[in-house]
């Protein structure tokens, strides 16, 4: 098996120094041990700081250079290009270490055939606490994009059972196979020998001004870390119990944040007992775990909660929350409590303090040792192997039916209301309206999802349409289609034929002119409703033109006869189905939307567009051929 691992989580400052970076580097080191016969390569983004050598475990590194400078407006093109670049390497699978990275990293956005895609699911915290993490429209859009990318994987490797459960619940019908592969502690956090413990304790106590016994808390000002809850729970301890104890808070803080935490401690009446430690390296942390009276971690939500496992591994008693993944990793050897109630947590703390520190130390260390990176890597490899042989069920084809839906477009709405129920027997259809007010018929709005033109891009990214159908007519209300067509190529139905419209579409390079041939255009085909129109259109454009006569009942309506004959529409619908099916088949072969996307994205860079698209096309063809082979 040839596996490519996206290693950007080991490059970005937001992940490299956090739990994600630590988890990623340990898993990376364990994978070649679990499957020595696999060909594993790590991909790094050359626009980010390189991956540290010690994280790579001597795995070969491939460097990817984004075609455009890293910036939010270029994100789409860079991510699509990255996906094609990965496909062109011909791997059997791609493992993304962190599919929910920030904008600085690129998460591959595949289009068409692709290798099997795997991702690691750490948590879905922004979805669970939107008030704190998604209170901005730009952030919401970013997270929606990343969430959809996460769910587009063939299999997700969850770091805990709680995360796996959350992905299954919140991913709903779109959730792929999710398997808990668990995690383990970094080998750096090994228990200290008695002599090391004595020397380390003296050093750390002197360095951090910890003269008395202390309760250790690792946190941040992040809402879910519940730093305020930790201070309040400590303050809720009886004064007698607190008299001989300090609360050591290890936390990276800016000066303003430090002042805020000090204010929290003052407000809770424990300012003299709260000791802030703003600069502690891993070795310091290990000594702090080994020398603390107990480790206190009342987090509201953790995907894994590495500090709990690290503390247990170093032999410290642990008091933590009874929610999310923490009970899994704290095990039966720790004390659990409700993190939302400082009083309840104080009771649990008191119980834990009542027991001598080393009473159950061997049990704790033994429990922590049950988690091992080799086991995690073995599970991850097994999931990837299994999903390679999974059968993917084909889905019903999806259509986006683009039409204006104002009160002035009543005849067109009625036409759609009769035609679409028949087409719905073959396709899943959603309606895209213009920017103005919507006056859809009840039968249309009840049976189809109505979307505004603004919502199309996100919807298409979430649930891609197989084809766009533009119901065109000579009216200023149809101008919004001129914006949509270059972005989403599709078939054009000329409802009221006019050569002026055709000329306009040709001028805008949306339909191929009569003189040209072979050049790609977003108008993938044309439908007219009379032989005369068919002949006239043939004189103007060189695209494929189909003629389907309108039902006689509809023509009769113009002479005020309201008779409806469904069988006429059935005949028309059969023609539509053949036309759309054929277009989708051809469209998949030529990969129209991809080409259109590349052209659009590079429109701002005319100097490099031709060369970039040539390179990109070669890359993509190479990748698709490798997949087919």
């Amino acid at each position: 098996m040839h596996l490519l691992i996206d290693g950007q989580a080991l490059q970005t400052p937001s992940s490299r120094l956090r739990g994600i970076g630590r988890y990623g580097s340990n898993l990376l080191r364990a994978l070649p041990i679990a499957r020595p016969n696999w060909r594993i390569e790590v991909v790094q983004n050359s626009s980010l700081p390189p991956i540290a050598r010690e994280d790579l475990a001597e795995l070969p590194v491939l460097s990817f250079t984004p075609p455009l400078a890293p910036a939010v407006p270029h994100q789409d093109i860079n991510e699509r290009f990255y996906a094609d670049w990965l496909t062109a390497r011909g791997p059997d699978g791609v493992l993304v270490l962190s599919p929910c990275e920030g904008w600085e990293a690129l998460v591959p956005c595949f289009c068409g055939s692709r290798p099997r895609l795997f991702g690691i699911a750490y948590d879905l915290i922004p979805l669970l606490y939107p008030r704190h993490y998604l209170n901005n429209i730009a952030v919401s859009r970013w997270y929606a994009h990343r969430f959809r990318q996460l769910l587009s994987s063939d299999a997700l490797l969850a770091i805990s059972e709680a995360t796996a459960r959350d992905v299954r619940v919140l991913g709903g019908a779109d959730a792929p196979l999710v398997v808990n592969i668990a995690g383990a502690v970094d080998p750096l956090f090994a228990p200290l020998s008695p002599s090391e413990q004595a020397a380390g304790a003296a050093l750390v106590r002197k360095r951090f001004n910890l003269d008395r016994e202390f309760i250790l808390h690792i946190g941040a000002l992040d809402h879910r870390k519940n730093l305020l809850g930790a201070i309040r729970a400590f303050a809720a301890l009886p004064a007698k119990c607190r008299a001989a104890l300090d609360l050591a808070v290890v936390c990276r803080l800016k000066p303003a944040e430090k002042a805020a935490v000090e204010e929290m401690a003052r407000a809770s009446g424990v300012s003299s007992s709260v000791k802030l430690i703003c600069s502690a390296n891993d070795q310091d942390l290990r000594t702090l775990y080994a020398t603390c009276r107990l480790f206190f971690f009342p987090s509201l939500y953790e995907g894994l909660g590495l500090p709990v496992l690290e503390a247990l591994h170093c032999g410290a008693p642990v008091v933590t929350s009874d929610c999310s993944s923490l009970p899994e990793y704290a095990g039966p050897v720790s004390w659990l409590g409700d993190p939302t109630s400082p009083e309840a947590m104080a009771v649990v703390l008191r119980e834990a303090l009542a027991e001598p520190r080393d009473a159950r130390r061997p049990d704790r260390e033994a429990f922590a040792r049950t988690f091992h990176w080799n086991t995690t890597a073995e599970r991850a490899c097994a999931v990837m192997e299994r999903s390679l042989s999974r059968f993917v069920k084909p889905l019903r084809r999806r259509l986006a039916w683009v039409m204006p839906m104002t009160a002035a477009d009543q005849p067109m709405l009625e036409y759609a209301a009769k035609l679409l129920p028949l087409l719905s027997e073959h396709f899943d259809i959603e309606l895209i309206a213009g920017y103005g007010s919507i006056a859809a018929l009840e039968s249309l709005s009840q049976n189809h999802l109505l979307l505004s033109a603004q919502e199309v891009a996100a919807r298409h990214a979430a649930k891609p349409y197989d084809m766009f159908i533009y119901q065109w007519s000579a009216s200023p209300r149809h101008r919004f289609m001129l914006d949509l067509l270059p972005l989403f190529p599709g078939l054009i139905e000329l409802h009221d034929f006019s050569t002026v419209d055709l000329d306009r579409l040709v001028e805008l390079n949306l339909l191929r002119p009569r003189s040209a041939s072979g050049e790609w255009v977003p108008g993938l085909g044309l439908l007219v409703h009379s032989a005369a129109a068919w002949q006239q259109a043939g004189r103007v454009v060189n695209s494929s033109i189909l003629c389907l006569s309108l039902p006689s009942s509809l023509l009769a309506q113009s002479t005020a006869t309201k008779a409806t004959q469904p069988h006429d529409f059935r005949h028309l619908a059969a023609g539509y189905v053949r036309w759309i099916d054929r277009a989708i088949d051809q469209h998949e072969q030529t990969d129209g939307p991809w080409h259109s996307f590349a052209l659009q994205c590079l429109a701002d860079h005319p100097d490099m567009a031709d060369r970039a698209i040539d390179t990109w096309t070669t890359l993509r063809t190479q990748g698709q051929q490798q997949l087919a082979g």
Binding site: R131, S140, R148, D166, D174, S324, Q454, K463
Partner: protein
């Protein structure tokens, strides 16, 4: 759900939000405000749903209870009255809730338009700067051409 909430979030809301994000309809979901007081003030600051939603459902609106000698009689009257006006309240509630959704969509569209406007402004500024630079360059070229001409003449 594995979530233990702190009172401000509920799992069903997370599921609704996840569904909106999954289906690409995130614009139809209201952006929550951290400031709880902001949702009660008028005019609602950048978030209409929390402000209006509490007034939208007339069907389940609980009438204030006061002790009165005739309280049992009054309660009976209320029950009967509620039974009669329920269909109308139902219609009104549906209308109110749909109005809230429409307002919310409009609000979000306005926000995204404002964002687009900001981007356009930035682009215009950048183009204006470029234009100034091009003008300066053309002036320099003119000066250079004039100097060449004068040199030739001399």
């Amino acid at each position: 759900m594995s979530l233990r909430t702190d009172g401000s979030e509920t799992p069903p809301s997370a599921e609704r939000l996840a569904q909106a994000l999954r289906s690409g309809l995130e614009l139809r979901w209201s952006i929550p405000s951290l400031d709880l007081e902001a949702s009660t003030c008028f005019p609602p600051n950048a978030n209409v749903r929390p402000f209006l939603e509490r007034h939208a459902d007339l069907l389940h609106y609980s009438l204030p209870r006061r002790l009165h000698p005739l309280s049992r009689f009054v309660q009976g009257i209320r029950k009967v009255l509620r039974k009669f006006i329920s269909p109308w309240l139902d219609v009104q509630t549906r209308f109110n809730l749909s109005a809230v959704s429409v307002l919310e969509q409009i609000e979000q569209r306005v926000q995204s338009l404002e964002q687009t406007e900001r981007v356009l402004r930035q682009t215009i500024e950048a183009l204006e700067k470029k234009q100034v630079a091009v003008e300066q360059q053309s002036e320099q070229v003119d000066e250079y051409a004039i100097s060449l001409l004068t040199r030739e003449k001399s």
